[in-house]
Amino acid sequence: MKNLALPENFDHKNIDILKQFITETGKIIPARVSGISAPEQRKLTKAVKVARFLALIPYTDKQI
């Protein structure tokens, strides 16, 4: 397990933190792999999905 910088609250604007939890292809890394707790994973998922909608992080690497 990597040493991850966990914030108090996941913010969709803080993309440096969110990028730790997505793969190169843009998928969200499962909590069983990253080792964060279930409540944290739920918050993270919401933040990632908002950030994707605002074109801050990609949905997939196939989009240009």
Binding site: L54, Q63, I64
Partner: protein
């Protein structure tokens, strides 16, 4: 009254029209009874994927206070606004009155891009200067190498001479003794 965070992605081609557009938009907000706590002007960022034909977008984030009943009206107004390429209204617990990570990130990205452009310019200049002068410099290098060879061989000779002279001196001293 609820707290809201309104994010707008504007068409990056607005440029000079941006300031009047922002004023106009803020007047619309106040007409609908929204209280603006903070406006974060992130600036033009590269989008993670293209939206329509846009590869870049001007991000604008508002921290608002307002009535939930007016949100729908606001959204319809934004929807028919051609200069907004994407928008999102989020209900939030507390209003933050400072710039987020995005503004900092955008500034850094801008700096990096400028530095890269500057370096590319310098490289191009150096290459242009080198091209006509290349043949001359090569010749100079060759001649200097030859000179070096000559110089080194000359030194060796002188060393040998010194040694022979010292030997002579030694023999002379022996004879004296």
């Amino acid at each position: 009254m609820n707290h809201y965070e309104l994010t707008l992605i504007l068409n990056p081609d607005l440029a000079s029209k941006f300031d009047p557009y922002k004023e106009h938009f803020e007047s619309v907000l106040s007409q609908l009874g929204f209280n603006i706590h903070y406006c974060e002007n992130v600036g033009i960022r590269e989008l993670a994927y293209t939206i329509g034909i846009n590869k870049k977008g001007h991000y604008l984030i508002y921290q608002l206070d307002g009535d939930p009943s007016n949100i729908k009206e606001l959204e319809t107004k934004i929807k028919y606004d051609n200069s907004v390429i994407r928008h999102l209204v989020l209900k939030i617990d507390t209003v933050t009155k400072s710039d987020s990570f995005l503004t900092q990130d955008t500034k850094e990205a801008k700096k990096r891009a400028e530095e890269r452009a500057h370096e590319a310019k310098l490289k191009a200049q150096v290459q242009q200067q080198q091209k006509p002068a290349k043949s001359e410099t090569q010749e100079n290098e060759r001649s200097s190498e030859e000179k070096k060879d000559e110089g080194s061989s000359g030194e060796e000779n002188s060393h040998n001479k010194d040694e022979t002279t010292s030997e002579k001196n030694e023999s002379a001293t022996e004879e004296q003794a």
